[in-house]
């Protein structure tokens, strides 16, 4: 059997109103990004519980990215402001535990920013790929 080329698995949580629409726009414009990026739709970035982020890593994700409306543009007025605080603290804590910073990211992508969505995913996937497999937050039981 051929050795599989290492491809990072990336989970992207996208808010329904901006980022998910931004991802759709990237599709409309046929802007490529790696297929390793898998999107989960949430109503607002503030729906993303830190437990989901850790769960993704546990289950084998190599990178987790949250996308939401730009600060000030939240469909629910303030959701992404809370996301910003929560994830700033969570990511800082993960870094403190020695987990690679580049594995986590928050990016604000509006519904009009299809190009930014694609560029962000390309960049993120590249950075995560450079880190290699997620070893520091893995659950060996979940490895194939």
């Amino acid at each position: 059997m051929q050795v599989k080329e290492y491809k990072p698995l990336i989970v992207a949580f996208c808010c329904n109103w901006c980022s998910y629409a931004g991802a759709d726009l990237a599709g409309n414009n046929r802007l490529n990004y790696p297929a390793d990026v898998k999107i989960i739709r949430v109503p607002c970035s503030c729906r993303v519980n830190p437990m989901f982020v850790l769960r993704a890593f546990q289950r084998g994700a190599d990178g987790v990215i949250l996308c939401g409306c730009h600060p000030g543009d939240c469909h629910y007025t303030s959701g992404n402001y809370y996301t910003r605080r929560r994830m700033a603290l969570l990511f800082s804590m993960l870094d403190y535990l020695g987990i690679e910073r580049e594995r986590t990211r928050v990016e604000w992508v509006s519904a009009a920013e299809g190009a930014k969505f694609a560029a962000t995913m390309n960049d993120f996937a590249e950075k995560v790929a450079a880190l290699g497999e997620n070893k520091r937050l893995e659950d060996l039981r979940c490895k194939k």
Binding site: P50, M51, L54, R55, F57, Q58, P71, G72, S78, Y81, Y82, R84, R85, R86, M87, A88, L89, L90, F91, S92, M93, L94, D95, Y96, L97, G98, I99, E100, R101, T104, R105, V106, R136, L137, E138, D139, L140, R141
Partner: protein, 328 residues
């Protein structure tokens, strides 16, 4: 070492009990040895006189007990609160966890509590008696005796005491203290200054000791959830054991996150950890980050204050910028 004596507290408790102001007293009860003090509910003068104790081993924070006790006890509960305990007390009030009307809080001064682990590290096993004081006198069954400077064996949280000020009480015994400039974040800063690999190795080693006994959670005055997510099979994170390295990290990250902005840094988690994991360094990391990202915030300093994670400003730091700031 404590400036206030046990007798003063007993006298206060007895008088409040006897005049009917309170129906019971939350206090420290003497143990088998001179150091194994148990939190207890005293209901009579006799119990207080014979068993109530207050000395350098009375580290236990009673605030959390109020959540359950106020629901069960008729009448008011007298609770003695050291300065650091008052922060937990206020934080619980902020979160509506108990009825303030059911508590009579007496603030008592604290000169710092000592760590029996540190004493044993000096004396070894076989302690037969300990006499508290600025110099702690320890005798062992091996006919050895030790004079230990109390300042050298303080609990970690007392070395880095953040406040001698009581932020809540109905009555204060002794003088009003001050908030103290502590060096409590030095150790966090030391870890931050390490390379990621070193930090990973440090935490991997520490957290691998965890036996998931839940003592940290169960003693924590911020962890008063009716049902903890780690006990709830539907939460997706429930477990009874640190099944592997991931579960160890998961438990401690999520626990620290859940108390972030609510943790008063009372240090009980590290005090009770049977494996001596420096758990306070996780909570302090959040406190340090909160202070530097969102402005200084002391949970429990005021009742009703808005915790940083249920608050925001439009100018908050972006998650991608936290690393630059964290390493300053």
């Amino acid at each position: 070492m404590q400036k206030i004596t046990r007798d003063v507290l007993v006298e206060k408790a007895v008088s409040l009990l006897e005049n009917g102001s309170v129906s019971c007293v939350l206090g420290w009860k003497k143990g088998e040895f001179d150091y194994d003090i148990t939190p207890a509910v005293f209901e009579s003068k006799e119990e207080l006189v014979s068993d109530f104790i207050f000395d350098d081993f009375c580290g236990a924070n009673f605030s959390k007990y109020l959540v359950q006790k106020t629901r069960k006890v008729e009448g008011k509960i007298l609770v003695f609160l050291k300065p650091c305990d008052t922060y937990s007390f206020n934080q619980l009030l902020t979160e509506h966890r108990f009825d303030r009307e059911k508590v009579y809080a007496v603030g008592i001064p604290c000169e710092g509590m000592v760590d029996i682990g540190k004493i044993k590290a000096i004396t070894g096993d076989g302690i037969s008696s300990i006499v508290c004081g600025d110099t702690i006198k320890v005798n062992t069954i091996y006919d050895e005796s030790f004079d230990i400077n109390a300042k050298d064996v303080l609990l970690e949280r007392c070395i880095n005491c953040k406040s001698k000020k009581h932020v809540a009480y109905d009555e204060l015994i002794g003088e009003e203290g001050e908030v103290i400039e502590s060096n409590r974040f030095d150790e966090v800063a030391r870890l931050e200054a390490m390379t990621p690999d070193e930090r990973f190795a440090f935490w991997q080693n520490e957290l691998s000791k965890c036996i998931r006994c839940n003592a940290c959670r169960d003693v924590c005055p911020a962890c008063t959830c009716e049902k903890c997510v780690f006990n709830n099979p539907k939460s997706g994170v429930e477990n009874k054991a640190p099944a592997n390295e991931f579960e160890e990290k998961m438990f401690h990250i999520i626990r620290a996150f859940h108390v972030a902005g609510r943790c008063t840094d009372c240090g009980e988690c590290s005090r009770v950890c049977p494996q001596n994991i420096p758990l306070h360094l996780l909570n302090r990391k959040f406190i340090k980050d909160i202070d530097s990202f969102y402005g200084e915030y002391q949970a429990g300093a005021e009742v009703g204050s808005r915790a940083p994670l249920v608050n925001y400003t439009t100018e908050d730091i972006e998650p991608c910028d936290v690393f630059e700031r964290g390493n300053d």
